[in-house]
Symmetry: C2
Subunit: 194 residues, 2 copies
DNA sequence: CATGTTCCGTACGCTACCGTATGGCTCACA
DNA sequence: TGTGAGCCATACGGTAGCGTACGGAACATG
């Protein structure tokens, strides 16, 4: 049986995923992951064809986890507004654990896995969009607002990474609340001030 | 006169900046920039101490240009609302030319130039924040909204990069208009739907 | 014309990667 | 017990970077 999913292949993927989470795809180096594992390239190239296969495995796992997370977020009971605030809170809470994802948008195209990133992004937009429709926005406005909201989350990640893991000027709960408010609020009819 | 700013040093910085604009700091490689220039490392290491010096020069230039851009944007006449929409439109229009900046947030910490990125980010937030105050928000709310708005712009850049320079699902004018609306709109008093 | 300074090309060493070749260990099983 | 398959370590070749050593060209200037 050639190159089945043996325990070792799984171990390689696990270790690679750990590297990815902290340093992005760029940190998924076969010799480095091998050292984490106490193994050498001899093992790696028996289980995988090349580094791209490992990166692809990492991305499959990432996509699956993100999909699961979305499903769990949608499972949270309550009305649409409650689900919205729960979703924003969950995103804010999980921000520190997504250092790898911050690097993903740029790396995706270079590593040839841009499609997975786009699928996950569109899925996130679609799910958020659906909630916004339930709150009263029409489809296209909801889609636009969902896109902007996702972009805001991604941008905050970027700023946090640039800050280099300091306390977190860009990670507070107040920002999350503001982002939610901006996402669900409509223009007020009478504009104050010119 | 040791290592003055000769024409060649300027040429190295120019060529490095061009590389940065298209491929980020990661694309600023001594030998590659040298090839662009028809020169070799012998020249480089006469004018610069090491690669970090070149990266620092690129960042100085980037920071100066961004500051200039902010000043020009503020110069645009009109009331606060007009300046806001002009600002959003200008940002959207310049998006295609900022492929290097998209990579900057992640690279900044790795290359040790995170401070420049943070200065520019804070400056952008401050300027936008001031406009939002003029439109009627209190200081802290304006600051939060400005942060989210900047994050949204950054996030759209990230999504566009992940898309790998395809037509541009994340670059339309409709999104820009929505982002502006979300930034300046307050909660409507009566919430429709539960 | 001699000499020193400025500037730069070439050659080298070093590290970190990827991928390949090859030999050898271990275990199932005939 | 012998043998083949599965698994892996070691060693090697190759590329892309950074930084250094060194020699030499060009030019000014005494």
């Amino acid at each position: 049986m050639a190159r089945a999913t043996t325990a070792s292949a799984q171990a390689w993927t696990d270790a690679a995923y750990a590297r990815f989470q902290s340093g992005g795809l760029r940190a998924v180096r076969v010799e480095v992951v091998g050292r984490d594992l106490g193994a050498t390239k001899g093992s790696f190239y028996w289980h995988f064809g090349n580094r791209q296969d490992l990166v692809a495995a990492v991305m499959r796992r990432w996509e699956a986890e993100q999909t699961d997370a979305v499903i769990r977020a949608a499972d949270a009971g309550g009305d649409a507004r409650g689900r919205l605030s729960a979703l924003f809170a969950a995103v804010a809470a999980s921000a520190p654990h997504r250092g790898g994802e911050a690097r993903l948008y740029v790396e995706a195209s270079e590593e040839g896995v841009g499609d997975a990133v786009l699928r996950v992004s569109r899925r996130r937009i679609d799910d958020l969009s659906e909630l916004l429709v339930q709150v009263g926005f029409d489809e296209s406005e909801a889609a636009r607002r969902a896109t902007i909201a996702l972009a805001a989350v991604i941008g905050l990640q970027q700023l946090a990474v640039a800050e280099d893991s300091s306390p977190g000027e860009f990670g507070g709960a107040a920002l999350t609340a503001t982002a939610l408010a901006m996402t669900v609020s409509r223009d007020e009819p009478t504009s104050r001030l010119a």
